[in-house]
Symmetry: C2
């Protein structure tokens, strides 16, 4: 997505060969117009797949997921993160390890909101090693529901989450795919090359 790539070039900050900071429009401050375009673009790519609900994780996934849900006319569920296990039989729970933050969180979704006949689109802000997406897919499996695929705002193409998910046969659509952050410079992979 052209507007997103321009924003990354203009406002993204390369903190290391693996970390891109995009706090000014995605992870802390939101650019509503850009998030609207991102949500609409993800919605457009999956529009004929019979989606009944969208599933994301708090907090940075909420804005693009919300806009995709508004565009498609379906509810949006945000999985909750939590540190410790409080036993609750009414929750689907999955573990997610963040390599960046070196911590494991549980994510959970109430059983009230995903049913066996649901077809879910998973949306997240970043795709790196794919652990968050696998956690969300695990929750969808626990509910006996199905997924139509994954919509991502920024994919780190140099980490293996995208390849791993695509090799499992999961449809992954990313609005911008980072080829490299080496030497403090952002370069993009053309999306056509990963389809």
């Amino acid at each position: 997505m052209k507007e997103l790539k321009e924003k990354i070039i203009n406002e993204g900050s390369v903190l290391s060969d693996t970390v891109l900071k995009v706090d000014s429009f995605l992870n802390h401050q939101l650019d509503p117009e850009l998030m609207k375009l991102a949500g609409e673009e993800i919605a457009a790519r999956f529009k004929d797949t019979g989606i009944t609900k969208i599933l994301t994780i708090e907090s940075s996934g909420i804005a693009p997921a919300f806009m995709a849900g508004l565009t498609l006319g379906v509810p949006v569920i945000f999985a909750r993160k939590r540190k410790s296990l409080t036993l609750n039989n009414h929750l689907y729970v999955a573990e997610v390890t963040s390599f960046t933050k070196k911590e494991t969180n549980e994510i959970c979704v109430s059983k009230d909101f995903i049913h066996a006949d649901d077809k879910l689109l998973v949306i997240d802000d970043f795709l790196a090693n794919g652990q968050a997406v696998l956690g969300l897919m695990d929750i969808i499996d626990q509910a006996g529901a199905s997924s139509v695929g994954v919509g991502i705002v920024i994919e780190k193409g140099f980490q293996d989450g995208g390849r791993m998910l695509r090799e499992k046969g999961i449809r992954v659509e990313s609005l911008a795919i980072l080829k490299s952050l080496e030497n403090g410079t952002v370069s993009f992979l053309e999306e056509e090359l990963v389809r």
Copy 2:
């Protein structure tokens, strides 16, 4: 807001005399169309106040704040919650005690995103004792910026946050004000009565 009050009546679950669960459209699953109306209504009430940015807290404030930001054409900042103090000179930090959850969290906002000439609209999903709003106001003060007021989706009119903020001279606009949850029944205060 009529649509919101109807949704609360139809889908809200009264867990006790003080707790209303609205997980199906605001706190866990989002009803995008209703959140759009809520954000637009808050934006309309404050539209002539010269807002430069919107400030909310992750996670349930994000959807209505995002829609208000999209409507007004201004960026939306979501304050981050965190458990423990990591020293970081580049953050504004405030403490927020949740009486419901019986815990104190720090909320923080990067100094990059609030400046002395900013006029901020604070938006949150619930207003109960007002501690979260006070924390956000504290951060605005630390930045030397000013606030035009507070937009709330659901105010618990039987708790004292709304009165306390209004007595400080802060403009508080709530889309639905709960008068009581006693006997498992939701009743609303007419908004005109609190102005």
